[in-house]
């Protein structure tokens, strides 16, 4: 019994030290002790974020081969490459918590882990590329900037780099839209149509309303999460409305208006049923996104096996030579 008591004592001390570190707004590092729940929650969150970057390559990526100018083609190819890079950093951050990238990939293609629902909407025209940059990346940044102060060091550092690149993408998306709005009528219509389709899904990116978001409290206590869904959504709307005005597009919400009293824009409620449907797998492109990811994974299996076999042979060769 002594041993158990001692273990209990030791764990209590570790917990105390952990709590104090969080309390001082200092970072937890991979070598530090951490509660299991913290580790599990973080792995799930980071993996989901990594999966979102990877799945997020698809909706825009299909326009690389169809981009209407070489400059836009290069910008888009670079952006999608950045997303692959973000996926890589994030999987690495998850690996510092003991997760395995191959396993996380399996969980993604089995549907055991989620990714951001926004990527289950179709990209129908080249204007979608601009609107995704402006609204989707914009919303992502609102969500992610606070994560640069996440209590977990590797995640926070990955987020700093990612946020920097995301803001760059957002500016590029907005700039594309500005250019298109100065173009032909057909281009302006295309932009407005894209805004109509992406506005509500973008608002849903902040998750369900606070009163329907049960896990948030603990994540906030752990400083994995720093603001509530509704706070971030409001921040996004306040930031975006003036940009829409400058662009000359109409946001498709008749309830959208400035509220002098609150010092914020009022806005309508997204269709939360739709969000539930998309999260639960019935969005317009869920099945296809996963099928495409699975196909790439399966068709690449022989390549990964070849690389592993080659590495093993070389390692054996080095051992034999030593």
């Amino acid at each position: 019994m002594t041993t158990q008591a001692t273990t209990g004592d030791a764990e209590a001390r570790l917990q105390e030290h952990f709590d104090a570190t969080i309390g001082r707004d200092q970072r937890i590092e991979p070598r530090d002790w951490m509660p299991d729940g913290y580790r599990r929650t973080l792995i799930r969150q980071i993996a989901q974020h990594a999966h979102s970057e990877i799945i997020g390559m698809q909706p825009e990526g299909q326009w690389i081969t169809r981009a209407p100018s070489l400059r836009r083609k290069a910008i888009l190819l670079a952006k999608v490459q950045d997303e692959a890079g973000h996926g890589l950093y994030l999987y690495s951050a998850a690996e510092t918590l003991g997760a395995d990238r191959a396993e996380l990939t399996e969980m993604l293609i089995d549907g055991r882990q989620k990714y951001s629902s926004i990527f289950n909407y179709p990209t129908l025209t080249f204007a979608d590329v601009g609107v995704i940059g402006w609204l989707v990346d914009g919303a992502a940044i609102c969500n992610q900037v606070p994560l640069c102060r996440s209590s977990y060091g590797p995640y926070a550092r990955a987020m700093i780099r990612i946020c920097k690149e995301e803001s760059f993408h957002q500016r590029q998306g907005y700039e594309l839209l500005l250019t298109m709005m100065r173009g032909t009528d057909a281009q302006r219509e295309m932009v407005q149509d894209a805004v109509n389709r992406w506005w509500w899904p973008s608002l849903m990116m902040f998750g369900p309303p606070d009163d329907a978001s049960p896990n948030s409290a603990r994540s906030m206590a752990w400083k994995i999460k720093r603001h509530s869904n509704d706070e971030l959504r409001q921040r996004f709307v306040d930031m975006t409305v003036p940009q829409a005005e400058k662009l000359g597009v109409t946001l498709p919400d008749p309830e959208l208006r400035w509220n002098d009293e609150r010092g914020h824009y009022d806005f309508g409620a997204p269709d939360w049923d739709e969000l539930r449907r998309v999260i639960s797998g019935d969005g317009p492109c869920n099945a296809e996104r996963i099928a495409r990811r699975r196909a790439a994974h399966e068709e690449g299996a022989w390549v990964r096996e070849a690389a592993a076999a080659y590495a093993a042979k070389r390692a054996a060769g080095r051992r034999a030579a030593a």
Partner: protein, 236 residues
């Protein structure tokens, strides 16, 4: 003037068509590292295409810009080699093609750093560093696949047999006769490291350099040019 323009155009076409094929790997590569590497190589080539097109449009006196040349020429006006336009096939084919094209292009660009045209010389100087990396990347994968599993070896052998008939076309249009030997030496060396032999095959007659393309170029260009052509007078 016209000759320099035509030369820059051909080199630009090779780069654009290759970049387009590499971009098709997006979200389809065997691993994230390969997603990034293939995109990165595609970006380098796209950059080369843009500079070469700009130079071509100045040199031939037509004043066409990079987008005029990329988006508003028909298949028969493209001057890329056919090897660049073939479909991606599997990863082995993509790697062997990349190895061949980048070995050849590196040999050409190395010589072009001494071009009397200062613009082309500068493009070449920048490109040499990029192409050395492309060739290195492809060579490493070629060795891994050739000396990996039974399946990867089988696929490598098939890919080499598929690529080999298109090589003569690369050298034929070059005035410098040592380029072919240099490229073949690289290919033989890489194949040897992988425990394979670069195949001896009869070259396929014809050449994309004269506008003689395969059936694959028109659909590739239809996809590449479709959006641009659907919006006349648009700015992007």
């Amino acid at each position: 003037g016209a000759e320099l323009g035509a030369y820059c155009l051909a080199l630009g076409d090779d780069a654009l068509i290759s970049a387009q094929r590499l971009a098709e790997w997006c979200a389809r590569a065997p691993d994230l590292e390969e997603e990034m590497a293939l995109a990165n190589i595609g970006l380098d080539l796209l950059g080369q295409a843009r500079m070469l097109y700009t130079r071509a449009g100045q040199a031939d006196g037509s004043g066409r810009d990079e987008d005029d040349l990329a988006y508003f020429r028909d298949p028969a006006e493209f001057r890329n080699v056919r090897l660049a336009e073939l479909p991606n096939g599997d990863f082995a084919f993509t790697i062997v093609r990349l190895l061949a094209l980048s070995a050849w292009r590196l040999a050409v660009f190395t010589r072009l750093t001494a071009s009397p045209d200062p613009v082309l010389a500068a493009v070449a100087a920048k490109g040499v560093k990029e192409l050395a990396y492309h060739r290195q990347y492809a060579a490493e994968w070629a060795v891994r696949l050739g000396d990996g599993t039974e399946e990867s070896r089988r696929r490598m052998v098939r890919a080499m047999e598929e690529v080999a008939p298109y090589l003569e076309e690369l050298y034929a249009a070059e005035t410098c006769t040592t380029i072919g030997e240099e490229v073949e030496a690289v290919l033989r060396q890489v194949a040897g490291e992988a425990g394979l032999a670069w195949p001896r095959v009869r070259p396929l007659p014809g050449s994309g350099r004269d506008g003689g393309h395969t059936e694959h170029l028109a659909p590739l260009l239809a996809e590449l040019q479709g959006t641009a052509r659907a919006f006349p007078g648009a700015a992007w």
